[in-house]
């Protein structure tokens, strides 16, 4: 087991619209329990607003849970290095003032891997099929697909054990999406990466996942092997998602 989430909960307090109204509690993620093993791909699927992104942020330490915890297995020594995130909007994934080289080396510098910078970046860029000369360029000179690949390279440079992908291809064209999904599958095999793949697109999830969790309103309503959940859905939300997928 790489990590186990135990009853993760995140509650936001939303102030009332006018000052005398009491604050509302928004339970973005409620008592979520999940686990992921080495080399496995876990797909998390659900409609917009179901809490998928909040869950991704919890798993990557961007926000702290209100209750519950994440237990790491022995393979995860340093969560900041061994768990990496790629996000939905490739157009905002990089600091616009820094060159790509500076952005890509930042995680290495933070985790004291600066001495191996050149070798690691070269390997990572080769893995995502990007030319090393993009390191000198600034993010705005790249297309969406290239930026997402560069973000992937940044994540891979630290040689993580787990890659959390929060809707990485939603903002990209079909062909570019195909290229990135192929890349991820290849990397999974070559580097033994575990993936947590979050999407609202059932077809993509079906394609990449070994296991699937279906989320709705902050809770996991169904979980199991990908083939089973998709061919014999038990929860109404899952059924609705499958019916709503637009493929004849």
């Amino acid at each position: 087991m790489l990590l186990t989430a135990e009853r993760l909960t995140k509650v936001y307090r939303v102030p009332g619209e006018v000052f005398w109204q009491p604050a509302r509690r928004l339970e973005a993620v409620k008592e979520v329990c999940l686990g992921i093993r080495e080399g496995e791909t876990l797909g998390i699927v659900g409609a917009s607003g179901c809490g998928k992104t909040t869950l991704a942020h919890l798993l990557c330490h961007i926000i702290t849970p209100t209750s519950g915890r994440i237990a790491y297995g022995p393979a995860i020594v340093n969560p900041g290095r061994d768990i990496q995130l790629i996000s939905q909007n490739p157009y905002d994934a990089f600091d616009p003032l820094l060159s790509l080289g500076q952005s890509l080396e930042e995680p290495l510098l933070i985790h004291d891997l600066g001495s191996q910078r050149d070798a690691r970046l070269r390997q990572a860029l080769a893995d995502v099929r990007l030319d090393p000369d993009i390191l000198a360029r600034r993010p705005h000179a790249l297309s969406g697909g290239q930026r997402q690949r560069a973000a992937l390279a940044r994540a891979l440079a630290c040689e993580p054990k787990l890659l959390v992908c929060d809707e990485p291809t939603s903002a990209l064209d079909l062909c570019v999406q195909a290229g990135i999904l192929n890349n991820l599958t290849e990397l999974k095999d070559r580097r033994g990466l575990a993936l947590i793949f979050i999407s609202h697109d059932l077809d993509v999830i079906r394609h990449v996942s070994d296991r699937i969790c279906v989320m709705s309103s902050g809770i996991i309503v169904e979980e199991g092997r990908a083939r089973d959940v998709l061919s014999r859905p038990r929860h109404p939300v899952t059924r609705a998602l499958i019916d709503g997928a637009l493929r004849p």
Binding site: G144, A178, H200, R247
Partner: protein
């Protein structure tokens, strides 16, 4: 079926810092009453620019030229006609509905304002008609919904408000530019279904622009595929999506993860070309697996197939 809009050889040039850039070239298509024509293509292929050109919403100093442009029997002499038609015969709905509604007005007021402006209705008549329209697009009960502000409604509901605004214009043509992108799949289906139903009932000719091939397959009657500013394939939806003839269309449809696909997805090598540096001849030829000698010499003409499909590819030249 009655032809409502006919476009022949539309060319659009956008003003950039270093000169004009041709973004759409020789675009020709027709819209028929009650039918949905889906324009499919990837980012930057020129489909949005085409839509904006037809509604007169391009940036200042853009240049639009065409051989023929006929709307409801009325030929246009120049692109300024499009600005006249906007809101009076051609309605638009766009992506990110919430951004297209004035946050200071409740949605009922928006619909009422459009009714007063386009149909000249009096206050009470406008109010009743606004309620009827809101109910028609599924926002029931209208008395409650009309008092909401755009930020209080979800993206899907705001998109329905835009559809209601389109209804209010009583248009002949609806141009929908990615109206369901960003919405959930279930919502997407509902909104698409709503627009299709209204198109049939009201006799709208719909131009639906999308990059979502799956959605296009589901709702289109006819389809048009664009690449690098030109239409490369055109025909009845079933023909284009089930038996695509142009290599680009075939490759695009093959990219989708489907029920059976595992392992590698086929993807098109290379990248969509920059408009500033288009390849010679057929813009797709550097990435095409079946290119011929002739493909990099001249831009292929559109060749008609016996079943009515039209393809811009030398492979189909002798059909």
């Amino acid at each position: 079926m009655k032809e409502i809009l006919r476009v022949e050889n539309l060319c659009v040039q956008l003003p950039l810092a270093d000169g004009m850039l041709a973004v759409a070239r020789d675009v020709s298509f027709s819209l028929f009453e009650g039918e949905i024509l889906c324009c499919v293509g990837e980012s930057g292929c020129g489909k949005t620019t085409t839509a904006l050109a037809l509604t007169g919403l391009l940036p200042e100093h853009s240049h639009v030229s065409f051989d023929r442009l006929v709307f409801d029997g009325e030929p246009a002499r120049d692109a300024r006609a499009c600005t006249r038609w906007r809101g009076r015969g051609i309605a638009n709905i766009f992506q990110e509905a919430t951004a297209h509604l004035d946050p200071l007005f409740c949605v009922g007021a928006e619909v009422r304002e459009t009714l007063t402006r386009t149909r000249g209705l009096e206050a009470r008549a406008a109010r009743d008609e606004a309620r009827r329209l809101l109910e028609r697009v599924g926002l029931r009960p209208a008395e409650d919904f009309e008092r909401f502000y755009p930020h209080q409604l979800s993206g899907g509901m705001n998109q329905r408000v835009l559809v209601a605004l389109a209804l209010a214009c009583a248009p002949r043509v609806l141009i929908a530019d990615e109206p369901t992108t960003g919405l959930d799949q279930g919502l997407r289906r509902e909104t698409a279904g709503l627009i299709r139903e209204l198109a049939r009932e009201e006799g709208w000719a719909v131009l639906w622009i999308t990059h979502d091939v799956g959605l296009a397959e589901e709702i289109a009657d006819r389809a048009v595929v664009m690449y690098a500013g030109r239409i490369v394939e055109e025909g009845r939806a079933e023909a284009v999506f089930k038996r695509p003839l142009h290599p680009y269309t075939q490759a695009l449809l093959a990219c989708r993860p489907g029920k059976e696909s595992t392992g590698r997805l086929p993807s098109i090598p290379g990248e969509v070309p920059n408009f500033r540096a288009l390849p010679s001849g057929c813009a797709f030829h550097p990435r095409c697996a079946r290119r011929l000698e002739i493909c990099d010499k001249d831009i292929p003409k559109t060749f008609c197939q016996p079943n009515g499909q039209r393809v811009r590819c030398y492979l189909l030249q002798n059909a």
